[in-house]
């Protein structure tokens, strides 16, 4: 376990030694800030309309702001994840430093877990930028913090699952661009796959729909933790890391 931490720390340092960490954080702050602003603006206008129509029904901040913003953020995540994972193994393979890692007394799964965990922490650090928006909500309103927490947990789990797949794709090539593009394609596919099957009730469509990472996030965005979704995310994470381990092992048999 100590080895996992050694590798994780090194990866985190190299994220912050390059402009990528800051670039992604800035990008995320901008885009999530825009979505937050848009959601709040809609919330305010609707609230005024309601009052003018004389229907004084209280509007829920969680329902009107938190939920749409979280859903949007989960989609932004799809675009950032390839940038986080693409260099994990591709760069080590290109520069030959992978030889140092695999000839050190460290197990393959420790290397993979360390790198994946670093990517997850990086992703969490990027997400934490949006806490600025959330603090504004708390300053001027009374949102329920529990669904908010569940929503962030969902974001982390969804990220973890895509990061695991990205880690796997990074082990398959020496070229960061290829790894990044491949991961992006997979993320995109896992997102849009539900569009095709949304109104189809046949059983195969349900299976395909089940694979979509975004549909599993929806209940988290509502503030609901469903074991079905937890199992999906955990098994996807395991699947991605397992594939990475196999791929790293095959590197030795093939190269």
């Amino acid at each position: 376990m100590n080895n996992v931490w050694v590798i994780c720390r090194k990866e985190l340092k190299s994220y912050f030694a390059s402009p990528i960490a800051y670039g992604l954080m800035a990008f995320f702050a901008l885009v999530s800030g825009y979505f937050f602003y848009a959601a709040v603006a809609i919330f305010v206008t609707r609230g005024m309309e309601m009052q003018m129509m004389g229907r004084g029904m209280p509007m829920d901040v969680n329902e009107w702001v938190v939920r749409p913003v979280l859903s949007n953020v989960s989609v932004i995540g799809l675009f950032m994840i390839p940038m986080i994972t693409m260099r994990l193994f591709a760069e080590e393979k290109r520069s030959g430093t992978i030889e140092l890692l695999v000839t050190s007394p460290v197990r393959d799964w420790e290397i993979i877990l360390g790198k994946w965990f670093a990517a997850l922490l990086m992703y969490a650090a990027i997400l934490s930028v949006s806490l600025v928006n959330v603090s504004v909500l708390f300053a001027y309103g009374r949102p329920d913090w529990k669904p908010l927490l569940v929503g962030y947990l969902g974001l982390i789990l969804q990220g973890g699952c895509l990061l695991a797949l990205g880690t796997f794709l990074s082990t398959t090539t020496k070229n960061q661009i290829v790894a990044g593009a491949g991961t992006f394609a997979v993320c995109l596919m896992l997102w849009v796959i539900s569009w095709l099957t949304e109104f189809n009730t046949e059983s195969y469509a349900k299976v395909i729909g089940y694979l979509s990472v975004v549909t599993h996030f929806e209940s988290f965005a509502k503030g609901v933790i469903d074991t079905k979704d937890l199992i999906f995310y955990f098994s996807m994470i395991f699947f991605g890391l397992f594939l990475s381990a196999r791929s790293l092992e095959s590197l030795r048999w093939r190269s």
Partner: protein
């Protein structure tokens, strides 16, 4: 310390290493010599548990590379052909990372980093980014990384490639210094390097071991006879040639022309005969001036070419050994 038996590594289309066997004793420093693509790196990668062998076995410090890779990995330091450096790290930070990977920690690691830094002459660049270092420094940081955990076995893949002559000399002397404490395998295609640094040579070509011996044995074994270069002044070409031909034990006399009144010859003895004293005496007795008398030792280069360039050469050392 290292035992390799019948090691074979096959790839779908080629056989990179074909049934090689050798042993390396504790504290020995051996040169792994061969042209590019001979299978040196592949063999080293098998020894470091980077690649599994297709057949045969390899053992480091009594541990099998396939069955107990963790034990093997703890005991080896490996410098690949391109030093495995992270350009975005500082030298000290990098050595810390490698030390931790090799299961070191705390004060002992910090002390070891200082020690290794002095050893490899990188203590002045410790706070620098690796991306800012020159090639020579990078190589030394690579070497420092390999010895950080004080491994029993050190495997160096072409440690001097791409360095300038001064850096090459420094690296060689560093490797020699390390020889006392570690068992070292060093691969190279530079022949003088082996002559200068190594005690024993394993010559490998097309994935096969073509010769294994000490440097001096290899030289004499292939030579068999003694060759001497002679330069004589104050005499005519023909006179000297006949005088040299008359010396006991001389097999051939070859004229190498003359320059400024000095005639030059290459004289080869019959196997096992020492002819240098006799040549000197006959030249002096004739009243000529002996300008130079030197041994034309068979350089490793020639041996290497002889062993690796023709198929007949493969049989030659075996014939000699009988």
């Amino acid at each position: 310390m290292i035992r390799v038996e019948g090691l074979t590594k096959r790839y779908p289309r080629t056989v990179a290493v074909d049934d090689i066997s050798f042993t390396v004793g504790k504290g020995e420093i051996i040169g792994f010599l061969g042209p590019n693509g001979a299978g040196k790196t592949t063999t080293m990668r098998v020894l470091t548990c980077f690649l599994p062998p297709s057949a045969g076995m390899a053992e480091v410090a009594g541990f099998d590379v396939v069955k107990q890779p963790m034990e093997v990995k703890k005991r080896i330091g490996y410098l690949p052909e391109t030093p495995p450096l992270y350009p975005e790290m500082e030298v000290r930070e990098y050595l810390q990372f490698v030390g931790r990977l090799k299961q070191m920690s705390g004060a002992s690691l910090a002390a070891r980093i200082e020690e290794v830094g002095k050893r490899c002459h990188i203590d002045d660049v410790m706070p620098k980014l690796i991306s800012k270092l020159s090639k020579g420094y990078r190589q030394r940081v690579g070497l420092a990384q390999a010895i950080i955990h004080n491994p029993e076995v050190l495997i160096l893949d072409e440690p001097t490639s791409g360095l300038d002559p001064k850096q090459i000399l420094e690296t060689r002397s560093l490797i020699k210094e390390l020889a006392g404490e570690h068992t070292i395998i060093l691969s190279t295609h530079i022949l003088p390097e082996v002559e200068q640094v190594c005690e024993k040579v394993i010559i490998i070509n097309k994935g096969r071991v073509v010769a294994t011996d000490s440097v001096s044995n290899l030289t004499s074994r292939l030579r068999g006879s003694d060759a001497v270069g002679v330069e004589v002044g104050g005499a005519s070409q023909a006179d000297v040639e006949s005088a040299l031909g008359a010396v006991a034990g001389v097999a051939t006399v070859k004229s190498m022309g003359n320059k400024d009144g000095v005639v030059r010859f290459e004289v080869e003895s019959r196997p096992g005969e020492s002819i240098r004293p006799e040549i000197a005496r006959s030249v002096v007795q004739a009243g000529w001036q002996l300008h130079e008398l030197h041994s034309l030792s068979f350089s490793l280069e020639e041996i290497f070419l002889q062993l690796t360039s023709s198929d007949a050469a493969v049989a030659a050392p075996k014939g000699d050994a009988q």
